[in-house]
């Protein structure tokens, strides 16, 4: 019995946290709707739909939370069990770094290292193949966009590209 209740009420129940995030978002949407003014039923204001959508979000999130508390749910660990969880994490880190580098460094100087990292960090591609792909593909795309489609990609502070 005690084991059963441990399973149901454990804090690392991913369903419970999913529901709580939904509830918090719903609360925020209701608050935003109220701030924007609801108007009247004859003349709904800018916050009318937001307010009622927020209420629905809270209702659905509450139902998820209740299900998580009564039926239990998988832990965060079990969601990533038997997976190479570090790989997507590395890709996310590369993408975030790229997003910060894109404007100051420009497209070419940021996308070549990004490609090289992606080709090497997940399932490493041999250097002799990774380097040409990482250099030639962004360069080729840049040429097509700039010369053929006349689309200017960010050139960064060094004005390369």
């Amino acid at each position: 019995m005690s084991n059963d209740s441990d399973v149901k009420f454990r804090l690392n129940n991913s369903e419970l946290w999913g529901g709580l995030i939904g509830l918090a978002l719903g609360g925020f949407v209701i608050w935003s709707g109220l701030k924007l003014k609801l108007g009247t039923i004859n003349d709904p204001g800018a916050g009318f739909v937001l307010f009622y959508t927020g209420i629905l979000m809270c209702l659905f999130a509450t139902s998820i939370i209740i299900a998580a508390l009564t039926e239990g749910g998988p832990t965060f660990g079990s969601r990533w069990m038997n997976t190479r969880w570090t790989k997507p994490l590395l890709v996310i880190v590369c993408l975030v770094a790229f997003s910060f580098a894109l404007n100051p460094l420009g497209f070419l100087l940021s996308s070549i290292p990004l490609m090289l990292l992606l080709l090497r960090v997940v399932d490493p591609v041999r250097w002799s193949l990774a380097i040409p792909i990482a250099v030639l593909v962004p360069l080729g795309m840049w040429w097509i966009l700039k010369r053929l489609l006349l689309i200017q990609l960010p050139s960064g502070i060094f004005e390369i590209g």
């Binding site: 939904g22 739909v49 979000m57 790989k87 890709v91 975030v96 080709l119 792909i133």
Partner: protein, 502 residues
């Protein structure tokens, strides 16, 4: 007679050299993304959305449509030869298609998939030609209340059919509506949820959201696993199915076509659901259901016909009502809007060249696909050998470029990466992105129609139930919302979800 004149006019548009080129590019890219696992029609269409600006509306939309139905053809190749679905609608083809290939019958499996797709595609187009103008003339009478109720029904159907918890799917749909209304309020011009960012005044872009949730998130999920490909290495011969194969496949193909077409029209329905429904139907009707899963050709013919017919049927609500029934059609709506066109009941009469040109191009595209997928099958097989560790960085680079080109704004690249990460965690926690994206597209229309109907009816909520079409839609929506609470229907819904997971 009118229809024939219109069809002739449509072929006149579709057969223009530039439109033929765009049609070929569309079906070629469609087959390519269908064949390659990890990139589907949604990502490809978002990627190419900005390119449609460079040509006429006809050319752009012909190409986008080609990507969609082309991917349905290409998806079967990967399912049969590698046992990895190239895109979601081909999941079910893996079951019997790959078993046939293992038994040395890859040729007939690929052949029946291509012929079934062609047959269904042709049927769907003829039905589209006949149904769309009639429905459009009825739809002119639709008011804001009908539109609002139809959109609610579409969202509820999609959440009902999404695998897993319905509460989660509904929560996703609500979040989609909220994201959709970010930006200036169309009636009061008040900024909403912009957090003082100028970039958000016009709202969040569809392309970064879709590319993030479907493109980047899919890549992140795929990197978690080592993708092993069990490619059938034997030479593919006998692409033309035998007389016996035709005999057993004709029934499933015809039933799959009709079922797929009607499921495609339904808001929230689509190619994925129709292929599963067709497989379940054939298994139930078969005198030897035990053969299913061991290489039954009916298990390939039915679902492949169904997903192509659904792809054709899905154009009906978009073209006649202006309501996209699924995420792919939402992107197509984006292409129309980019060109300043609004699909809906008046489009067929105001822009006959565009409507009939697209329809005719789809027939030409189907013929091109038959050539691309049968005599040129060897080329696609070679492409399947491209390793995923080389492919995924290219997909990431193309998504970044695609998003940047759609707005010439680095902010959208940030939005895409953010939605990619959010989408990855959403999927890990069992939250499906499809209801969010459809609600994101429908959100502003839904809000507009709700507010208009309340203003027109002077706040009388009965307007939604006093108008028959609106009342029917809302009743269906209510039934679907209540259904999971009833044990028998709940069990059925869970069965569908389990089938999809398999």
């Amino acid at each position: 007679m009118d229809t024939l004149v219109n069809v002739a006019h449509g072929f006149g548009v579709a057969l223009q050299p530039i439109n033929l080129i765009y049609c070929f590019i569309g079906v070629f890219i469609g087959t390519l993304v269908g064949v390659l696992p990890g990139i589907g029609p949604i990502s490809a269409m978002s990627l190419l959305l900005p390119i449609t600006l460079s040509g006429t509306p006809e050319s752009g939309i012909i190409m986008m449509a080609g990507i969609y139905y082309g991917s349905m053809y290409g998806g079967s190749t990967t399912s049969i030869l590698v046992n990895i679905p190239g895109e979601a609608a081909s999941v079910v083809t893996c079951i019997d298609g790959h078993q046939m290939a293992k038994k040395g019958r890859a040729g007939p499996a690929l052949g029946i998939a291509a012929f079934g797709s062609f047959f269904a595609g042709t049927f769907a187009l003829i039905a589209l030609m006949l149904v769309a103008p009639k429905l459009a003339s009825v739809a002119i009478a639709f008011g804001p209340a009908e539109y609002f109720s139809l959109m609610v029904l579409g969202l509820v159907v999609l959440t009902f059919l999404t695998q897993g918890s319905m509460a989660k799917a509904l929560l996703m749909a609500c979040i989609g509506v909220v994201l959709g209304v970010v930006g200036l309020d169309s009636i009061t011009a008040q900024p909403r949820l912009t957090f003082g960012r100028v970039e958000l005044i016009d709202g969040i872009g569809l392309v970064p959201v879709v590319m993030g949730l479907f493109g980047v998130a899919e890549v992140l999920l795929n990197t978690e696993q080592v993708i092993k490909r069990d490619i059938i290495n034997t030479k593919i011969t006998h692409l033309l199915p035998s007389r016996e194969d035709w005999k057993v496949s004709t029934g499933p193909m015809s039933r799959g076509t009709i079922l797929g077409f009607f499921l495609g029209i339904l808001p929230g329905g689509g190619a994925v659901i129709s292929s599963f429904a067709s497989y379940a139907l054939e298994k139930r009707l078969s005198k030897t259901p035990e053969r299913f899963g061991t290489g039954a050709i009916e298990g390939v013919a039915g679902p492949e016909a169904a997903n192509n017919a659904a792809a054709g049927g899905a154009f009906i609500p978009l073209m006649t009502l202006g309501i996209p029934p699924n995420v792919v059609m939402a992107l197509l709506l984006g292409a129309f809007v980019i060109h300043g066109l609004q699909p809906g009941p008046l489009m067929i009469t105001q822009n006959p060249g565009l409507f009939w040109g697209i329809v005719a191009s789809m027939y030409i595209g189907n013929l091109m696909l038959l050539v691309l997928n049968l005599p040129m099958i060897g080329m696609w097989v070679q492409l399947l050998k491209l390793p995923y560790n080389v492919l995924f960085p290219l997909i990431i680079l193309f998504t970044i470029i695609g998003v940047y080109c759609s707005s010439n704004n680095v902010f959208d690249v940030h939005v895409m990466i953010a939605f990619g990460v959010i989408g990855y965690f959403m999927r890990k926690l069992g939250y499906e992105p499809a209801p969010l994206v459809l609600a994101f597209v429908l959100g502003p229309m839904l809000e507009n129609n709700l507010r208009k109907s309340l203003i027109l009816s002077q706040g009388d909520l009965m307007t939604f139930v006093e108008r028959p079409i609106s009342a029917v839609c809302l009743t269906f929506a209510l039934v679907l919302l209540v259904a999971p609470l009833l044990p028998a229907l709940r069990k059925k819904r869970e069965m569908v979800a389990l089938d999809e997971e398999a």
